[in-house]
C-alpha cells in the first residue's frame, strides 16, 4: 500500500548527532562540596602557615633617605640646587644579618607603570639596531632628538629617567670604615641581559654611538656607565637593565647589589654600618620617596606577609564555610530529623 520505504533522509544514528555522547555529570553534592572545602581549607591553612613562618624569618632593614625631615641625614641633599651631594646613613645591626644579603633601592609614588612613560622607548634601538640609533622611534618623544636634532641613545622617558643615586656601604670596625664589597653582576634578568637588550656589535662600543647624544638627564653616555667593567656598558649595563624593567606598582624596589663576597659571605655581622649615598635623583617635586632596603630571601622570595595571611584567612574561611554548609544542608535536607 505504501511505496518502497525510502530512508534517504534518515539522520545518522551516532552518539554525537543524537546528543548521547558519553558524559560525566558532576553534581555539587554535599558529599563533594563539604569535604572538598575542608580539604582545601586545611591545605590553604598549611600553605599559609608555611608562607607566614618563612616570611617572619626573613630579615629586612629599610631606611628612607629622601631627606624630607630636618633631622634626616640627607636633608641637605634634598635641596634640588645642591649638586653632587653625598649623605651618610648610619645604622647598626645587633645580630648577624644572614646572607646572602640583597641591597635594594626603593621609590614610592613613582609611576613607572604610567602608560605613556612605559611606551616611551625604542626596543629596536635597545636590541642594538643601528638604524634606530640614527632615527629613534616616534614613541620616544620628547626624548627622541635633542635640541640640536641629534638622536638620543638610548631614547625615551624610561631610559632618560634612569635612577642615578649610587651607594657605598661601610662597616664601622673600631672606628675605621671598612668597605663592604657589592656584587653587581647578574642582578638583571638573564633574558634581558642576553636577549632583549643588545649592544651593537661594534668595537669599541663608543663608535656605535657616533652622531648620537646621551639622554638629557644622564651625566655620562651609555657606553661609559661602568668604568670599572667594559662589558657592563651600553644597553647591557646591569643597573640600566634593572631600571628598564618597569615596576608594576607605584611603590617599588629594585635590586641594586648583592653582598656575597669576602667577609660578608654569610651576611652582615652585627655592628655599625654607614651607607654613603651619592644623592642625585630628585623625587620631592612629585612627593616621591627614596629608600634603601637590605633583605635576605627564602624559597618564596622576600618578606611579604600578605600572601601568608591571605592563605590563612581563606583557609580558615573554607573550614568555617564547610561547617556552615553542613549545618544548612542538614537543616534543609533532613528537616524532620533532629
Amino acid at each position: 500500500m505504501k511505496e518502497q520505504q525510502e530512508t534517504a533522509n534518515r539522520p545518522d544514528n551516532t552518539a554525537f548527532t543524537q546528543q548521547r555522547l558519553p558524559a560525566w555529570q558532576p553534581m555539587l553534592s554535599a558529599g563533594i562540596v563539604i569535604p572538598g572545602f575542608v580539604i582545601i581549607g586545611l591545605a590553604f591553612i598549611g600553605i599559609g602557615i608555611a608562607l607566614f613562618v618563612t616570611s617572619q624569618n626573613i630579615q629586612v632593614l629599610e631606611r628612607d633617605y629622601t631627606g624630607v625631615e630636618n633631622n634626616s641625614p640627607c636633608f641637605k641633599c634634598s635641596d634640588p640646587s645642591t649638586k653632587n651631594c653625598v649623605c651618610k646613613l648610619d645604622f647598626s645591626l645587633d645580630k648577624l644579618f644572614e646572607g646572602p644579603v640583597f641591597f635594594y633601592y626603593g621609590l614610592s609614588n613613582y609611576f613607572q607603570n604610567y602608560r605613556k612613560y612605559g611606551v616611551s622607548r625604542d626596543d629596536r634601538q635597545l636590541s642594538g639596531r643601528l638604524d634606530n640609533f640614527q632615527s629613534p622611534d616616534e614613541g620616544c618623544v620628547p626624548y627622541q632628538y635633542d635640541a640640536n636634532n641629534k638622536p638620543i641613545v638610548p631614547c625615551g622617558s624610561v631610559a632618560n629617567s634612569l635612577f642615578n643615586d649610587t651607594f657605598k656601604l661601610y662597616q664601622i670596625v673600631n672606628g675605621a670604615r671598612k668597605l663592604v664589597p657589592f656584587d653587581g653582576k647578574g642582578i638583571a634578568w638573564w633574558t634581558d641581559h642576553n636577549v632583549k637588550y643588545r649592544n651593537p656589535s661594534i668595537t669599541p662600543l663608543k663608535n656605535a654611538f657616533n652622531g648620537t647624544v646621551k639622554p638629557t638627564f644622564w651625566s655620562k653616555p651609555a657606553y661609559e656607565l661602568d668604568p670599572s667593567d667594559p662589558a657592563n656598558n651600553g644597553f647591557v649595563n646591569q643597573d640600566f637593565l634593572v631600571w628598564m624593567r618597569r615596576a608594576a606598582l607605584p611603590d617599588f624596589r629594585k635590586l641594586y647589589r648583592r653582598i656575597t663576597e669576602g667577609d660578608y659571605k654569610n651576611g652582615l655581622p652585627a655592628g655599625n654600618y654607614s651607607l654613603e649615598i651619592a644623592y642625585n635623583y630628585p623625587v620631592l617635586d612629585f612627593d616621591g620617596r627614596k629608600k634603601v632596603v637590605f633583605s635576605n630571601v627564602s624559597w618564596m622570595g622576600g618578606k611579604n606577609q600578605f600572601l601568608g595571611i591571605a592563605y590563612l584567612v581563606i583557609g580558615s574561611l573554607c573550614v568555617v564555610m564547610s561547617i556552615v554548609m553542613l549545618i544548612v544542608y542538614a537543616k534543609f535536607k533532613f528537616p524532620d530529623e533532629e
Binding site: M1, K2, Q5, A8, N9, R10, P11, T17, Q18, Q19, P22, A23, P26, L28, A30, V33, F37, F44, F111, Q112, Y114, R115, G118, D122, D123, S127, P142, S157, S161, W189, V195, K196, V242, R245, R246, A247, A248, L249, P250, D251, F252, K254, L255, R258, D285, F286, D287, S295, V297, W299, M300, G302, K303, N304, F306, A310, I314, M325, V328, F332
Partner: protein, 1153 residues
C-alpha cells in the same frame, strides 16, 4: 458561475497566452529595467538564489556584515585605535578578533552561497518536456517560458507555477483534452500579478469564448512533486522569480527571540556602563595629572596640554582599553550555537518519521532557545491533531449497538471482519464486530438492511470507476466513511446521474429515482433525499444530528431511548454521531410538497430560507433507524503529547474551521478537554465580559489606570475551566460595529473599548484549554496576535495547511506539519516535522536544552568579559589613570578568541542538565524557561557582579603579593610584565575552571577544550615570550622572558593558586547553599525516585467515566455541506473542476528552494 465571472475583469495585469512565446515579448509587456534597456516583465524560468559571485563576494559580504551594529562598533574602535593621541592599545588587539569574527561569518555565508550556487545549477538544468513545434521536446527548466505547455510525469518536480490542463488520472476532469493541446494560442489566462501568497490565486481562463474561473486548486506550484498521477499537462503561468515559492523565499519576516532582544538591551547597558566607567576614569586622570602627573618630571612628554584635555583624551583611551566589556564574539558565537542546535534538531532520529522518510527540519536557525519558553500553543485541528481519516466504528440499529464487543470479551474478538464475500468491498475498511455482518447476510433484520440502504443512498458522494475499483469523492471524509461502510456491508453505491442513484443491494442492482435532494447546511444539521423505488414507493431518507432528528421523530418511532443511550456512549467515547431515519411519503403528499418546493426554488428573495421552510415540512414524522458513530482518527500520540505539554504549563488553544460540536468532540478525544473541566461557551462569557466592562466604566478613572491591582479572576470557583468560542463570536466582540479596529484601540476616546480584548484574553488565559471553532485563517492569526499583544507571551502555532499560514507567520514560532498535502504551512514555518507528537520533543527536549544552553552561554560570556576587562579598571587606580592595561597586548588580542571561547561554545552546544528522557518525563522542568528565569536582567547583573568580583580578586591578590616582594634569587619580580603574566594566568585558569563548574554535561570534548584552552594559553605565552620571536620583531613582542622568569617563582604560583581559589570557592559555596535552601525544579532531581512515584500516583487510570451526561448537549455529528448543487444542477461532471482537480496531483511539499 455567471455571477462570479462578472466580477473578474480586475485581473487584467498578468496575461498568459498558451503556447505563444512571442506574445509575451510584445512591447506592452516590456518594462524599463535600466535606462533604455527594456525587458519582458515575464521572468524566464531560470532562478538565481545565490547572493554573491567571485567578484562581489568580498565587498558585498563585508557590507552586509558591517550593517550590524556590533561589527560597526568594533570598526569604529579600530579607527580610534589608529589615532595616535588616544591609541592605548595597538591596532591588532581589535583587528585580529574582528577579522576572525568577520571571517567566520563570511565563511558560513560562503558555504551557504556555494550550496545555493550548486542548487541553482542543478535545478536550472533539470529536464522537463515542453510542447514545442507541435510536439513534446525535452528541455531544461531554465529554458521554460511563460505560456509553455509542459508535460510532467509521476514523481517529477513541478518546474514553475502551472495551470493544470489535463491529467492521466481517471477521476480527473480537465479543461483540455490532450489532443487539443496544440490548438495553439487559443487559451488566454488573465490573472493576478505574481505575489507571495501561497494560499491564494485568482484568475480567469478564456477558452473557446468561454470564461472559466481559476483558483488555487487549479494550480500546481513550483517546488512540489507530482504524486499518484502518471502524467499531466500544464500551462506555465508564473516562471522563475515570479513563482510563488520564489516570491516567498528570502523576504521572510525576521523573527527575533526574547533573548535576542534582552541581549541587545544588555549590550546597550554594557555600552552605557563602558562610557560611564571611561568617563569616571578620565576625570580621575584629570585630577591625578593635576596633583601628581604634572609635577613628575620623569613623565614629561613634551606636550603642552592641560589636565582636562588630557582627561578628554584619556576618556577615549579608556573606551579603547575597556572595549572588551562589550563582547566582540558574542553575536558570532550565538549564531554558531544556534546553528549547531538547529542541526541537532535536524539530526534527531526521534523526530524522524520513517513512514514518509521525513526528518524534522529547523528552517529558521535563529529561534531555538525560544522553543524553551513557549507559553501558548495554537494548533490547527485537521491534519495536525487528527489524521483527517474517518473510520466507521460503531452503529446502533433498532436499539442494538454493533461495533462494541459485549463487555468483558474485548480481548477475544480482535480479528477484523472478513469482507472477502463482497467483491466490492474496500480492503482498507476494518470493522471489529462479526455479528453485524452475520445479521445483514442473513437478511433477517429489515431495519439493518434499511440502515445500510440509507447510507448508500442518502449522500452526495460522487463515484468514479477506476479499472475494477470504485473511487468515491466525498465532500467530507465522514460521508465517504459512511458510504464506504455501506459498500462493505453489501450496499454498494454504484453510480448516480442527475436524478437517479444506482446501488447494489447485496446481489442485485437497483436504480432509484431521485426526486429531491435536501442538502445539508449548518442550520438544518441534516440532509434528506426523497427517492422513488423501482416499485413506485416514495421514501424519504434522512440523516442528521440527533438533536434535530429527535425533534422530528414520529411518536410511533421505536427504540428512541435505547438509541439515545447508545448516542451517549458514543459521545463519551468521543465518536461523531449521526442519526438515521426514514419516512414513507405518499404520492399525493409528495406531489403537493413538490409544488411548494418548486415555488420555493424559484423565489427571488431569500431563496435559502424559503427552501429551508419547505424542507421542514416534509422532514417530520420520521422513523428512527439507528445511529452511526464515526471516529475522527487522531494522529499518533496526540493525547499523550497534549497531556505532557499541559503539565509543562503550556496552554493549548485549538483553532479550527470545524463546527463547535466536532471541535469539542476532538477536544475530548485528544484529552484537551476532560470531564472535570467546566466548559464555557462564547455566549456565556459575553455576560461576564459585559459585567467586567461595566465595572470598569464605573470605576474612577485614576484607579482604572492603575494596573497594579490584579483583576479578580473570571472564574472564581475552583477547578479547571475550558472555553469554547466560535469565530463569529470573536468577530462580534472584537470587531463589532461599536468597536474600533485593533489598530485604533489605543487611541484616546476609544479607551472604553480597548479593555474588551484584554478582558477576553485574560479570561481565555485563565482556562486550561481554549477551542475556537469556525474561525477563518485570518481570525486564527488575530487570536494569536491578541495573545501575543496582551499577554506578552511566547506563542507557537502549529498547522499543516494553507489556512494555517497566517497564524504560523503571526506566532513567535511557526511549526508546519510536513509530509502532508500542500507545502504552504511548511514553507512559512520555522520548524517542520511530520507528526504532532514530535512537538513535545521539540519543546521539552530541544527547546529546553537550547534555552538552558543559551542562557548559560550568555551568562558566562558576560561574566568572562567583565572579569577580563575590569582588571584594567582596578589597575587604573595604581597607574595614574593612564589607560595602562593590566595584561600583555597579545593576551588581550587572543583572550576572547582562543583562551576562553571554546569551552563555553561547547557548553552552548552540548550541555544537558538532564537527559532527554528525564526532560520528557518531568515536564515541570520546562517551567524555568517559560518564566525566563535563567536569563533576565537579574541574572545579567549577577553575572556582571560575578565578573566584577572575579576581576577584583584577580587584580588585588596579585597586587597584595607584589607590593613589597622580591624573587627567590633576590631579583625583584614585582615588575609590570611579571604582574601581567600573573593576572593573565590567574584569569585564564579562573574562567576556564568557572566554565567547568558551569558545565553539567562533561564529555571528553569539554574536557579537552578546557584543558586545551589552558594549555594553549601557556603554550602561546611561552612562544610569545621566547627569545626567538623577540629577535625577529623586537618592538612587537616585548615580553621576552617574562613568562619563564615569573613562573619560575613558587611564590607567584602560590599567588595564582590563591587568586583562582578565592575567585571560585565563594561561587561554589553560594551555589551549594542556594541549591540547598532554594532548590530549583531541576535540583530536585536528587530525589528522582520520590518524584517518580508521585507522578505514578497522580496518573489517573484513563478509564471512561461512563454515564456522565456532561457532554450530552454537544454531540458531534459528522456532516458538512455536500455536492447537492452540483448533482441537482445537472452540470456535466466534466465541469466540476474546482472540486475535483484537488485530487489530481497530490501536492506534497518536498523541498524548499
Amino acid at each position: 458561475e455567471e455571477a462570479s465571472l462578472s466580477a473578474e475583469p480586475r485581473y487584467r495585469h498578468w496575461k498568459v497566452k498558451a503556447n505563444d512565446r512571442a506574445y509575451h515579448h510584445l512591447p506592452e509587456f516590456q518594462r524599463k529595467v535600466f535606462l533604455c534597456i527594456k525587458k519582458s516583465k515575464y521572468s524566464g524560468n531560470a532562478i538565481k538564489t545565490y547572493k554573491y559571485n567571485v567578484l562581489t563576494f568580498l565587498p558585498l559580504n563585508l557590507f552586509e556584515q558591517f550593517k550590524r551594529a556590533a561589527n560597526l562598533y568594533f570598526l569604529g574602535l579600530l579607527i580610534l585605535q589608529v589615532i595616535p593621541q588616544i591609541s592605548t592599545l595597538p591596532w591588532y588587539t581589535t583587528l585580529v578578533p574582528l577579522v576572525l569574527v568577520l571571517s567566520i561569518t563570511a565563511m558560513k555565508d560562503l558555504v551557504d552561497d556555494l550550496a545555493r550556487h550548486r542548487m541553482d545549477k542543478e535545478i536550472n538544468n533539470r529536464k522537463c518536456e515542453v510542447l514545442l513545434d507541435g510536439r513534446f521536446q525535452e528541455s531544461k527548466w531554465r529554458h521554460i517560458q511563460v505560456g509553455d505547455v509542459v508535460r510532467l510525469k509521476k514523481n517529477d518536480f513541478i518546474p514553475a507555477d502551472i495551470l493544470l490542463l489535463s491529467s492521466s488520472n481517471p477521476n480527473s476532469l480537465c479543461y483540455v483534452e490532450t489532443a487539443e493541446l496544440d490548438g495553439a494560442g487559443t487559451a488566454l489566462i488573465e490573472c493576478e500579478e505574481p505575489n507571495n501568497r501561497l494560499d491564494k490565486f485568482t484568475g480567469t481562463m478564456l477558452w473557446r469564448r468561454e470564461r472559466y474561473p481559476l483558483d488555487l486548486d487549479n494550480m500546481l506550484l513550483r517546488g512540489c512533486k507530482i504524486r499518484n498521477t502518471d502524467f499531466c499537462h500544464g500551462l506555465v503561468i508564473f516562471a522563475g522569480a515570479d513563482t510563488k515559492i520564489m516570491r516567498n523565499g528570502g523576504k521572510t519576516r525576521f523573527k527575533r527571540t526574547k533573548i535576542d532582544e534582552l541581549m541587545n538591551y544588555m549590550v546597550y547597558t554594557i555600552f552605557v556602563l563602558l562610557i560611564l566607567v571611561a568617563a569616571g576614569l578620565a576625570i580621575g586622570h584629570t585630577f591625578w595629572y593635576e596633583e601628581i602627573g604634572s609635577k613628575a618630571w620623569y613623565l614629561y612628554d613634551g606636550k603642552d596640554e592641560d589636565a582636562s584635555y588630557r582627561g578628554f583624551l584619556s576618556f577615549w583611551g579608556y573606551i579603547i582599553v575597556l572595549n572588551t566589556m562589550v563582547p566582540i564574539s558574542l553575536y558570532v558565537s550565538v549564531e554558531v550555537i544556534r546553528l549547531g542546535q538547529s542541526k541537532f534538531i535536524n539530526w534527531d532520529l526521534q523526530m524522524y518519521f520513517p513512514e514518509k522518510d521525513t526528518p524534522a527540519k529547523a528552517r529558521t536557525t535563529t529561534l531555538n532557545e525560544q522553543l524553551g519558553q513557549i507559553e501558548y500553543i495554537f494548533s490547527d485541528k485537521t491534519g495536525t491533531l487528527t489524521q483527517n481519516i474517518m473510520a466507521f466504528k460503531k452503529c446502533t440499529i433498532s436499539g442494538q449497538t454493533y461495533g462494541t464487543s459485549p463487555s468483558g470479551y474485548t480481548e477475544i474478538i480482535t480479528s477484523p471482519v472478513d469482507f472477502s464475500w463482497n467483491r466490492y468491498a474496500d480492503r482498507k475498511f476494518q470493522f471489529m464486530d462479526h455479528s453485524l455482518v452475520a445479521l445483514i447476510r442473513s437478511r433477517k433484520d429489515k431495519d439493518a438492511l434499511e440502515f445500510f440502504k440509507l447510507l448508500s443512498l442518502c449522500h452526495t458522494v460522487m463515484v468514479e470507476q477506476k479499472e475494477d475499483d470504485l473511487v468515491y469523492q466525498a465532500a467530507s471524509p465522514d460521508e465517504g466513511a459512511l458510504v464506504t461502510a455501506a459498500r462493505n456491508f453489501g450496499y454498494v453505491f454504484l453510480s448516480r446521474t442527475q436524478d437517479t442513484i444506482t446501488i447494489r443491494e447485496m446481489d442485485q442492482e437497483t436504480t432509484y429515482e431521485m426526486l429531491a435532494l435536501l442538502d445539508f447546511n449548518s442550520d438544518r444539521k441534516r440532509m434528506s433525499i426523497i427517492l422513488r423505488a423501482p416499485d413506485g414507493r416514495i421514501r424519504l431518507y434522512c440523516k442528521g444530528a440527533d438533536t434535530v432528528i429527535y425533534e422530528r421523530l414520529s411518536p410511533n418511532s421505536r427504540h428512541k431511548q435505547s438509541t439515545q443511550d447508545a448516542l451517549d456512549r458514543f459521545a463519551n467515547e468521543t465518536l461523531r454521531t449521526l442519526c438515521l431515519c426514514y419516512r414513507d411519503v405518499s404520492r399525493d403528499e409528495y406531489d403537493a410538497w413538490a409544488r411548494k418546493h418548486k415555488d420555493a426554488s424559484v423565489t427571488m428573495t431569500d431563496r435559502e430560507a424559503a427552501l429551508d421552510r419547505v424542507y421542514e415540512q416534509i422532514e417530520n414524522n420520521l422513523m428512527l433507524l439507528g445511529a452511526t458513530a464515526i471516529e475522527d482518527k487522531l494522529q499518533d500520540g496526540v493525547p499523550e503529547t497534549i497531556a505532557k505539554l499541559a503539565k509543562a504549563d503550556i496552554k493549548i488553544w485549538v483553532l479550527t474551521g470545524d463546527k463547535k460540536e466536532t471541535a469539542e468532540n476532538i477536544g475530548f478525544s485528544c484529552e484537551l478537554l476532560t470531564d472535570d473541566m467546566q466548559i464555557h461557551y462564547g455566549e456565556d462569557i459575553n455576560e461576564k465580559l459585559t459585567v467586567r466592562q461595566a465595572n470598569r466604566r464605573n470605576e474612577p478613572l485614576s484607579s482604572g489606570r492603575n494596573r497594579k491591582k490584579a483583576p479578580e479572576p473570571f472564574f472564581p470557583q475552583p477547578g479547571k475551566n475550558a472555553l469554547i468560542i466560535t469565530g463569529g463570536w470573536l468577530v462580534s466582540f472584537a470587531q463589532g460595529p461599536r468597536r474600533p479596529r485593533c489598530g485604533e484601540m489605543l487611541q484616546v476616546g476609544h479607551v472604553l473599548f480597548f479593555p474588551v480584548q484584554i478582558d477576553f484574553v485574560d479570561m481565555a488565559c485563565e482556562c486550561e484549554a481554549v477551542i475556537c471553532c469556525r474561525v477563518t485563517p485570518k481570525q486564527k492569526a488575530n487570536v494569536v496576535s491578541l495573545v501575543k499583544k496582551y499577554k506578552k507571551a511566547v506563542t507557537l502555532s502549529i498547522g499543516d495547511g494553507a489556512n494555517d499560514v497566517n497564524m504560523i507567520k503571526t506566532a513567535d514560532i511557526g511549526v508546519g506539519i510536513s509530509g502532508q498535502e500542500g507545502m504552504q504551512a511548511v514553507m512559512s514555518s520555522d520548524y517542520a516535522f511530520a507528526q504532532f507528537r514530535y512537538l513535545q520533543r521539540l519543546l521539552l527536549v530541544h527547546g529546553r536544552w537550547s534555552y538552558i544552553r543559551m542562557c548559560k552561554f550568555l551568562r558566562y560570556f558576560f561574566y568572562k568579559n567583565f572579569a577580563f576587562t575590569l582588571v584594567h579598571f582596578w589597575y587604573s587606580f595604581f597607574s595614574g589613570y593612564s589607560s595602562q592595561v593590566a595584561y600583555e597586548d597579545w593576551f588581550i588580542t587572543i583572550y576572547n578568541v582562543l583562551y576562553s571561547s571554546l569551552p563555553v561554545l561547547l557548553v552552548g552546544l552540548l550541555d544537558q542538565d538532564v537527559n532527554d528522557k528525564l526532560s520528557l518525563k518531568f515536564p515541570k522542568l520546562y517551567l524555568p524557561g517559560q518564566q525566563g528565569l535563567l536569563f533576565n536582567y537579574k541574572n545579567f547583573f549577577i553575572s556582571l557582579f560575578h565578573g566584577i568580583f572575579t576581576s577584583l580578586i584577580i587584580f588585588f591578590i596579585p597586587y597584595g603579593a607584589f607590593l613589597q616582594t622580591m624573587g627567590q634569587d633576590g631579583e625583584a619580580p614585582s615588575d609590570y610584565q611579571s604582574f601581567a603574566v600573573v593576572t593573565a594566568s590567574s584569569l585564564v585558569i579562573t574562567v576556564n575552571l568557572q566554565i567547568s563548574l558551569d558545565t553539567s554535561y562533561w564529555t571528553f570534548v569539554n574536557c579537552f577544550a578546557v584543558l586545551g584552552s589552558i594549555a594553549i594559553y601557556f603554550g602561546i605565552m611561552f612562544d610569545i615570550h621566547s627569545a626567538g620571536i623577540h629577535v625577529i620583531f623586537p618592538s612587537i613582542f616585548t615580553f621576552t622572558g617574562a613568562a619563564s622568569n615569573a613562573l619560575r617563582q613558587p611564590y607567584l604560583w602560590l599567588t595564582i593558586i590563591l587568586t583562582v581559589g578565592i575567585s571560585l570557592l565563594p561561587v561554589i559555596c553560594i551555589q551549594f547553599l542556594h541549591k540547598t535552601i532554594w532548590p530549583s525544579v531541576g535540583d530536585k532531581f536528587d530525589q528522582k525516585k520520590k518524584y517518580e512515584m508521585e507522578e505514578e500516583e497522580k496518573k489517573k487510570p484513563p478509564a471512561f467515566q461512563r454515564g456522565q451526561r456532561s457532554r450530552r448537549s454537544a454531540y458531534a455529528f459528522s456532516h458538512s455541506r455536500g455536492y447537492a448543487d452540483l448533482i441537482s444542477s445537472g452540470r456535466s461532471i466534466r465541469r466540476r473542476l474546482s472540486v475535483l482537480l484537488r485530487s489530481v496531483a497530490q501536492i506534497t511539499s518536498t523541498q524548499t528552494l
